[in-house]
Amino acid sequence: MTIDLKTIKHISKLSRISVDDEKAKKLAVDMNSIFDFIEKLNELNTENVEPLTSVVETMLKLRVDKVISKDIREKILKNSPEDNEDFFVVPRVVE
């Protein structure tokens, strides 16, 4: 498989990372080298193998749906790049 510039641009959109043409070319080379390596897996027949999603075999525990953290708005907003004391502020979305 070969990853071309068009695919790089597509992945760049999906992952919300802007990539200029020069970077895209370099990325294509790197990705192809990584995919050559990854495709070694195709040597294996895994038809009847169950996928392993987690090494933890126990059932995840349930907890009571209860608010534990209270009055943390100020603490949380402190790290925001832009806010108006009550909310995070982002570029205008609705005209």
């Binding site: 999906l14 919300r16 990372i17 802007s18 990705m31 990584i34 390596f37 294996l44 982002v90 570029p91």
Partner: protein, 485 residues
Amino acid sequence: MSEITSQTLTELVENIKNKNISSEETTKAFIKRGEKSKDLNVYITQDFSSALNKAKDFDKNPNFELKLPGIPIAVKDLFCTNKVKTTAGSKILSNFIPPYESTVTQNIWNEGGILLGKLNCDEFAMGSSNETSFFGNAQSPIDKGLVPGGSSGGSASALAANLTPITIGTDTGGSIRQPASFTGTVGLKPTYGSCSRYGIVAFASSLDQAGPMSKNVKDCALLQEIISTYDEKDSTSIDFKRNEYSKDLTSNIKGKKIGIPKEYRVDGMPKEIEDLWTKGIEYAKVCGAEIVDISLPHTNYALPAYYIVAPAEASSNLARYDGVKYGYRSKGENLIDMYEKTRSEGFGDEVKRRIMLGTYVLSSGYYDAYYLKAQKVRKLIKDDFDEAYKKVDAILTPSTPSAAFKIGEKNNDPVSMYLNDIFTVPVNLAGLPAISIPAGLDVKGYPLGLQIIGKAFDEQNILNIAYAMEEKIEFKNKITDWWIK
């Protein structure tokens, strides 16, 4: 009494308890050495004045019952520390001040540990040489221009350079064991679910584990017993009976069966690694262990499977960095433009490469071919270990396929850097515990490590084997203080 900063944790605890030294003296000594060691670039954030105040407070009202009585400790900058900047080695978090504390670090402070500062690491723990850090690469104390390994490179370097008596790292594919091996220190990756992931900046959630790094096995056992706790805040934390690892530590490993997997004898392995392994087998025999040849047939597929699973999980974990709630933000013409510029400018090249790789393998039409396939291979790798553990109690391998390399030496091709983790990655995929101990030096005097892999939850057993072998190996690290003017 030897110099404060060159003492092991066990010695420091003893000396503080016997009032030979105070917490303040100890903390001052590590701060002083830290200030003289700027060239190593191990600190991203120093918290020295606060550390000194905490040490003075400890001395005023000492509690010698604690396991880390007034002991200063620097930690990897991947652990969120309340009100102390936490960057994960990234520009995108370069101004992030967590309003909460990770469980692992909280456990350390609860036992009397004092935060010295936050240590350099590869960006979001993605790297094997500490070169992907936004804050520049940390240097190895072993030699000028040498990488300390990664991703916990700052941790390993600070420990080997005597800037902290112990430290903690995280290990997703080898990020504790490889830098430990490169710097002549001890590093343990615990069983998945042993140490809480709460408050650790996430990389690949099904693989990430925090673990101790130390100058010897006993210190490692003590720190592991402190940081390993069941935690409700981490849904994959496991509630199992934990040993008092340091108390239960014994070098009597008579009759233990240790497996030697033939698949780890890879093509092009340097002779000195081969020799180290042979020497390790001899040491294990001298300790009374029985050596058994075993096979882990899918070993060669671990690294390719890892480079699907880890980037896939990373791409979803790192989706949260969008410039809205915290971290770096770039100005954009609209919301989408702001996202794309923020992420493009905020992440480094390796992180972007992995996010995009992960995005691709999870994207519509490719999920089965890559991600599902990798998870099936992951099962085969775990089955290999399960099969082997019917015959043996632990497995002995080299920690890395080579000694530490020079800064810049492996930057041209990402795959050649990835190959560093060939011996460490299978353990993460299977969720097992493994420890790296220093076992020798190469011709240049660079440290080499041996890895002991255990059954799940069998940390005590691999610590015991490591302890027994450490006695026989009598490793001495060569630290010349080259960076101190």
